[in-house]
């Protein structure tokens, strides 16, 4: 093959241009963007649920649905409240009608009434995403659409999720679902858009009894963090090794 100097130059130019093209996809971040991207190393979001304070009013669920635009009547939700009734025959009865969005207005569970003399204990347990330290949902996402931020919250990229449902399967807590409108995986993210602006999550703000609190686990002076550090708290399903970061006061052994 013959190749004149002119050809060589033309080819070299084309090749260089073609090679540079992908580089244009990269860009320099501003100082502020870098700060957000790297997150604050002195921040790790945690959550405290005091089941002793929860009365099952469901205002948290309602607030969450409205704040996060989860279709109000769709039977899926980022957070919910469970009711437990334990009877003398050691049977555990659990329900969460409409995820407790409208509170617990019926003393019966699935139509079954309970004689108060037969009930040994009953209580409410709010549930939400545990923002696990080793999140199985992040591990199994085939495209990296769900990821953990440096401040501990697990987020979902709605533009990149392919909707395979593997993360939904991998979560032992059942907090994930497909968003009815966006058709991608969806779950609680402690209202990341709020907490990163210094606000409290919608459910925390809506709770009239202080049963839900958010905190920075790396700040020993945070009053909520102090409770987690100094009092006896538990987590749900720690046998899965996911290291959940939602802590519970008064968690009963019957809680699933």
């Amino acid at each position: 093959m013959r190749c004149s100097r002119r050809d060589l130059l033309a080819m070299a130019l084309t090749t260089t241009a073609a090679a540079i093209l992908p580089v244009t996809a990269f860009r320099f971040l501003s100082q502020a963007e870098v700060k957000v991207a790297l997150a604050d190393p002195a921040l790790r979001w945690g959550f405290l649920v005091d089941t002793e304070k929860c009365v099952g009013c469901g205002l948290c669920v309602k607030a969450c649905k409205l704040e996060n635009e989860t279709p109000y009547d769709a039977p899926v939700t980022r957070t919910w409240v469970e009711r437990y009734i334990i009877t003398k025959d050691d049977q555990t009865h659990i329900d969460s009608p409409r995820a407790a969005r409208d509170g617990f207005t019926d003393p019966r569970i699935r139509g079954e009434a309970f004689d108060p003399a037969e009930v040994t204990k009953s209580f409410f347990v709010p549930k939400l995403c545990n923002q696990c330290d080793s999140p199985p949902c992040v591990q199994v996402c085939p495209v990296g659409a769900t990821y953990q931020t440096l401040d501990g919250v697990v987020l979902i990229d709605r533009k990149w999720c392919i909707g395979c449902g593997y993360c939904i399967m991998a979560c032992p807590y059942g907090v994930r679902f497909f968003h009815p409108v966006h058709k991608v995986a969806e779950k609680c993210n402690f209202c990341y858009h709020r907490i990163s602006q210094g606000l409290k999550p919608a459910c925390v703000q809506a709770c009239p009894f202080g049963a839900r609190e958010i905190c920075n686990l790396k700040d020993a002076n945070d009053p909520i963090t102090r409770i987690i550090m100094t009092q006896r708290v538990a987590v749900t399903k720690d046998e899965y090794g996911t290291k959940p970061q939602v802590f519970y006061i008064g968690l009963d052994r019957n809680v699933r």
Binding site: P71, A74, P75, V76, T77, W80, E82, T92, H93, I94, D95, S96, A99, R110, K127, P136, V138, Q139, V140, C141, P142, V143, G144, A145, W160, C161, I162, G163, C164, G165, Y166, I168, M169, A170, C171, P172, Y173, G174, V175, R176, F177, F178, P180, V181, K183, V184, E239, Y240, G241, R256
Partner: protein, 417 residues
């Protein structure tokens, strides 16, 4: 109201306490997916038995099953696309694979496997492509010209069909078939890994899952190849007229077929025994160790899904065909019945794993029931319903019919030029 479909609501019913967000998210297409990849892997392993291990009497079946595994290949993709909530983003698995996920390996394993199958077929048929190109040279008519161009393209410019070149081809086939076996096993073993590694699911989580999947894959692949082979051969027999087909040729073809089938069914029995042994080991182990989840698992296995698991899968799908195949004086008809039952049994195994794994709540305090959508009334109930599944099943046969027009895989030695 905006389009608001809660995925899974359509076909899930809940019993007792189930978390609000729990539904049967992985439905019929996820049953089809391991079933179809299993058939692909099994078909390839069967063809390799001849190419690698020199099982001469499997020669007829080997060429057929190789081409059939190519026809099956795209159908391993299809159920996934039907299942995805965002099918147009499916390619992201290849673009941004997240390697801690078992599914991320899909792109790599699948394309490696596809490359191996395609190149092996090319080496097997290269001589044929060249011969066709030469034979069609100068033939009139646009149809034949196109046909010749196609074969010319398929030769990829390699026209050397001298004896040493063909020996090299054979060697390449052998190497490709040998590398293909672990890749085929990996393709399917990783499908088992996808389930086996889900620690949240008490029924799925088991290190045996990938091995069980591979064994049952080979079983179903061999069974499907044998069945299709028998059907096609019988059909050819019916169609051939005495003028075209001498009695001698016909008789020899039937004996060839019977020998092939007898041999293949011996392999089938072997893999079947291995598959059942592993599954039973898994079951016994779960019962014996009786971890926290065993209470609900036992309830699902022995009561809710008893008929599906023990009657339909183990009884009808494994035990009965096993007896049919080991009884002496095996006839083609009995083989066909046994093969159909085996294919059904492996399908039920996939069903019982995928659907059975979602039959109980993560709370261990409730159950979910799956109702397969029969008549579609939306895109979703078509894709994840009976019709979607039937589409997936029928496509390999249509593809095979098309591919077989170009690379004939059903001729016996007497007929090949």
């Amino acid at each position: 109201m905006e389009s608001m479909i809660v995925h899974g609501l359509e076909w899930t019913t809940k019993e007792l306490f189930v978390y609000p967000n729990e539904y049967i998210y992985w439905s019929i297409q996820i049953v089809m997916y391991p079933y179809m990849t299993g058939l692909v892997a099994g078909a390839f392993v069967l063809s390799s038995l001849y190419h690698v291990f020199g099982q001469k009497d499997l020669k007829e079946l080997a060429r057929f099953s190789l081409v059939f595994s190519l026809a099956l290949l795209p159908t391993a993709l299809l159920p996934l696309l039907f299942h995805l909530q965002q099918p147009l983003r499916g390619i992201y698995v290849m673009l941004t694979p997240h390697f801690t996920s078992a599914i991320a390996a899909f792109g790599i394993v699948f394309s490696t496997y596809a490359a191996i199958v395609l190149s092996e077929i090319w080496f097997v048929y290269r001589q044929y492509f060249v011969e066709q190109t030469l034979a069609l040279q100068g033939q009139p008519g646009p149809g034949l010209v196109i046909k010749r161009r196609l074969y010319q393209l398929l030769t990829l410019g390699a026209y050397d069909i001298s004896a040493p070149a063909l020996v090299k081809d054979k060697k390449a086939v052998k190497i490709l078939a040998a590398t293909g076996i672990p890749v085929a096993c990996f393709l399917h073993g990783y499908a088992g890994f996808i389930f086996g590694s889900v620690k949240a699911n008490a029924l799925w989580m088991s290190p045996l899952m990938p091995v069980i999947f591979i064994m049952s894959a080979v079983v179903s692949g061999i069974a499907l190849c044998m069945l299709t082979y028998i059907v096609i051969m019988e059909w050819k027999k019916l169609r051939s007229t005495p003028a075209q087909d001498t009695d001698v040729a016909q008789v020899s073809r039937i004996t060839v077929m019977e020998e092939v089938i007898a041999k293949a069914s011996r392999y089938l029995i072997g893999f079947l025994v291995a598959a059942i042994a592993l599954e039973l080991l898994d079951l016994i182990f779960r019962g014996y160790t009786a971890m926290k989840s065993w209470d609900i698992l036992r309830f699902v296995l022995y009561q809710k899904d008893f008929v599906n698991i023990f009657i339909l899968q183990y009884g009808l799908g494994n035990l009965l065909p096993f007896i049919l195949l080991i009884l002496p004086r095996l006839t083609i008809r009995r083989t066909v019945i046994a093969l159909l039952l085996i294919l059904y049994g492996v399908f039920m195994m996939r069903w019982n794993v995928v659907i059975g794994g979602q039959a109980f709540s993560l709370s261990f305090a409730g159950f979910m029931h799956y109702h397969l959508p029969l008549l579609p009334h939306s895109a979703e109930t078509f894709k994840e319903g009976l019709l979607g599944a039937l589409t997936v099943v029928s496509i390999p046969f249509i593809l095979f019919w098309l591919i077989n027009m170009i690379v004939p895989s059903l001729t016996t030695d007497q007929e090949t030029p």
